[in-house]
């Protein structure tokens, strides 16, 4: 691993591979960029090599932190690469979230004749079942049913105008028409304000008390992300708990199972405690106030079992409501008989929500998508 033993390029390429293993998405062209940069600043300048690595191989503050760790480990090897072990651990802790990823689907086992009819009526029942009470096979069937949710992104008006058959005068287009006839007056064009999809931000609580719902909620988030992307809108997803994690990137794949595994790899706080107020503040400071939540529809999925300071949660929810277009709180317990919104967190947050919805079954998810579409 020392520079004296290897060809210099090999050492640097090895470093990019180590970085990739540590979770930084280093592509071939980035690695080439790194080699070019090292050649430019001179490979013997250790400090400049370090800066070249940061500039060419990283794309976010998280990447920078990983780069620094791997750089230190690669260029002064003292204790091997501890990152590899950590990664294994995080993978193990998320394994339980997958509903038997290796299985071929629950429906395969039965060989009875009327299996199709049975499944049809079961699908009806599954719609209304609490997702926390489902067994693995039922979860698999439900996963397929997410595709049936009908989704429309919410829209907002834009500053830009579109061509329309009535409305206000479109002077520039009228002039252009006239120009086409070499200056003779032509057809008069009209215009009106266009519409664009409004941004949707999902904050999914993955703390211990929400574990039975995490899989279904992430599936829903993935489904919303994919369908929004198809229609030109954006959905951004974060997990909250004790830490805030941006998981939108993991939802890039169309396959929901793989997307959830990918999300599991980046989220460090599965089934941990709930410090909703604090993570919400981090979200607002780092992303929300700067623009991500501005004018967006923000959906918070949580049961409101706040272990931190409920006052802080209320304060942050008020901030969120001032920035966002609409704040929707989804609570899996809301739909159950005898539920009263009495937990400290819920009481503090409710005055600052525009909608308070149930979120424990596919049917309630359908209601939610309806609320989002109308926002």
């Amino acid at each position: 691993m020392t520079t004296t033993l290897h060809d210099a390029d090999e050492v640097f390429l090895g470093f990019t591979r180590a970085l990739r293993a540590a979770g930084v998405p280093v592509t071939q062209d980035r690695a080439h960029g790194f080699l070019a940069a090292v050649a430019t600043v001179g490979a013997d300048d250790r400090q400049a090599t370090y800066w070249a690595g940061r500039a060419t191989l990283c794309g976010s503050p998280d990447d920078l932190a990983r780069h620094d760790q791997v750089f230190a480990a690669w260029f002064d090897p003292r204790d091997g690469l501890p990152r590899a072990q950590q990664r294994e651990a995080s993978r193990a802790s998320t394994a339980h979230l997958l509903p038997e990823a290796e299985g071929t689907g629950g429906a395969g086992e039965t060989e009875e004749e009327d299996v199709v009819r049975a499944m049809a009526s079961e699908a009806e029942v599954l719609q209304h079942r609490d997702v926390a009470t489902l067994d693995a096979a039922e979860k698999r069937r439900l996963a397929g049913m997410f595709l049936r949710l009908s989704l429309h992104p919410p829209v907002r008006r834009t500053a830009r105008h579109r061509r329309w058959h009535r409305g206000e005068l479109d002077a520039s287009r009228t002039l252009r028409n006239s120009l086409r006839h070499l200056g003779e007056p032509g057809e008069i064009a009209w215009r009106r304000r266009g519409t664009r999809p409004r941004r949707v931000v999902l904050l999914v609580d993955v703390s211990g008390s929400m574990t039975p719902y995490a899989d279904a909620l992430l599936r829903l988030a993935h489904r919303l992300t994919r369908s929004a992307r198809a229609s030109g809108g954006t959905v951004e997803t974060f997990t909250v708990g004790t830490r805030l994690t941006h998981v939108t990137r993991a939802f890039g794949t169309p396959d929901a199972d793989r997307a959830i595994v990918a999300a599991g790899e980046v989220v460090p706080d599965w089934s941990g405690g709930t410090r909703l107020g604090e993570t919400l503040r981090v979200f607002l400071d780092r992303w929300g106030q700067r623009g991500m939540a501005r004018g967006a529809v923000v959906v918070v999925f949580s049961d409101g079992w706040e272990r931190g300071d409920a006052g802080l949660l209320g304060e942050q929810m008020a901030r969120l409501q001032r920035v966002a277009h609409r704040v929707v709180w989804v609570n899996p317990h809301r739909g159950k008989a005898g539920y009263e919104p009495l937990q400290g967190g819920v009481v503090a947050a409710l005055p600052h929500c525009d909608d308070f919805l149930a979120g424990h079954s596919l049917a309630t998810f359908a209601d939610l998508t309806e609320v989002i579409a109308r926002a």
Binding site: P25, T27, D29, R30, G33, A36, A37, T40, V41, Q47, A48, W51, A52, R54, A55, T56, C58, G59, S60, P61, D63, L64, T158, A159, R160, S172, L175, R176, S178, L179, L182, G183, R196, T234, E236, H246, T248, R249, D285, R286, W287, Q289, R290, G291, M292, R294, R319
Partner: protein, 292 residues
């Protein structure tokens, strides 16, 4: 473009001459961007000098700075070019008044360079060498990013009626982002990445001294000490950036304050903090901070 920028130290010296103090890392990255002809993507807290770097670069290289401010819904015609329709019509009328008009000739004369309104990207390509600042690229949409990607990799723009405009020399491109959304990986891969942090105490004092020479040494130090303490607090909605430090130091100087005291600090707090909640919290703590 590169004359006088033969090493990172040259870059730092040139930037320093314009009053922009860079550290070695930033100078190295700028040097690499110029040498490798790659755009430079700057991220960091608001007010850490991302936009100021582009301005300083243009000034130090003595080339024009072309600025493209991004916003939601910006499209290629606002970034590239447009035709000046009213002038085209006037031109037609003038031709007609002058006598007989050959329609083909007339039409050809309409799409002449003098009726072309160059928007920032085209302007930067034509004025090269230049510095092109694409400010707050995270505010634009995905489609716009894809369009930028094309321009930034080919350094040319095609106008159907006119032809292809190629930059004789690629402009030095600086993109800034406030991270309101994650930029597309394809764009990030094209760029060199740099995260600008808040400066340390000594460097910030130097920055104030160099950017606002009218502020006295003692006041600059006092102001920076307070600002650095404020940035340590985790209860502020918007911790002050370097730009706010400069504003505050200047505001105090305009009021004739030579020594930072509670009354003048409280009066000018609006230059430093932009939220009522923050101002309330700081006002309460100011007494203790100034008495040290």
């Amino acid at each position: 473009m590169l004359h006088g920028m033969d090493s990172a130290a040259d870059v730092a010296a040139r930037l320093g001459a314009t009053g922009y103090l860079s550290d070695d890392e930033l100078a190295t990255v700028v040097f690499l961007a110029a040498r490798m002809q790659r755009p430079l993507l700057l991220e960091g807290e608001p007010g850490t000098g991302k936009t100021a770097l582009a301005e300083a670069l243009a000034q130090s290289l003595e080339v024009p700075l072309v600025r493209l401010q991004c916003y939601e819904g910006i499209d290629a015609s606002q970034a590239l070019y447009d035709w000046d329709f009213p002038r085209q019509i006037l031109h037609l009328r003038a031709l007609e008044a002058g006598g007989e008009v050959d329609p083909d000739e007339a039409e050809k004369s309409l799409y002449d360079e003098r009726f072309l309104l160059a928007r920032p990207v085209l302007a930067a390509l034509r004025q090269a060498p230049a510095v092109l600042l694409v400010d707050e690229v995270d505010r634009a949409d995905d489609e716009f990013e894809a369009f930028l990607l094309e321009v930034l990799s080919t350094w040319q723009v095609t106008i159907p009626e006119f032809g292809t405009v190629t930059a004789p020399e690629p402009p030095l491109v600086v993109l800034t982002s406030n991270r309101t959304r994650e930029l597309h990986d394809a764009l990030k891969r094209r760029c060199l990445y740099h995260w600008i942090d808040h400066p340390g105490l000594e460097r910030e004092v130097e920055i104030v001294r160099s950017r606002a020479p009218e502020v006295s040494d003692a006041l600059a130090r006092q102001v920076v000490e307070v600002v650095q303490q404020l940035r340590q607090r985790d209860d502020l909605l918007k911790p002050p950036g370097v730009a706010e430090t400069l504003d505050w130091a200047r505001a105090l100087t305009y009021l004739g304050t030579a020594d930072l005291d509670l009354a003048s600090a409280a009066m000018t707090l609006g230059a430093l903090l932009k939220y009522r909640e923050d101002a309330d919290r700081v006002r309460a703590a100011l007494d203790r901070m100034l008495s040290r």
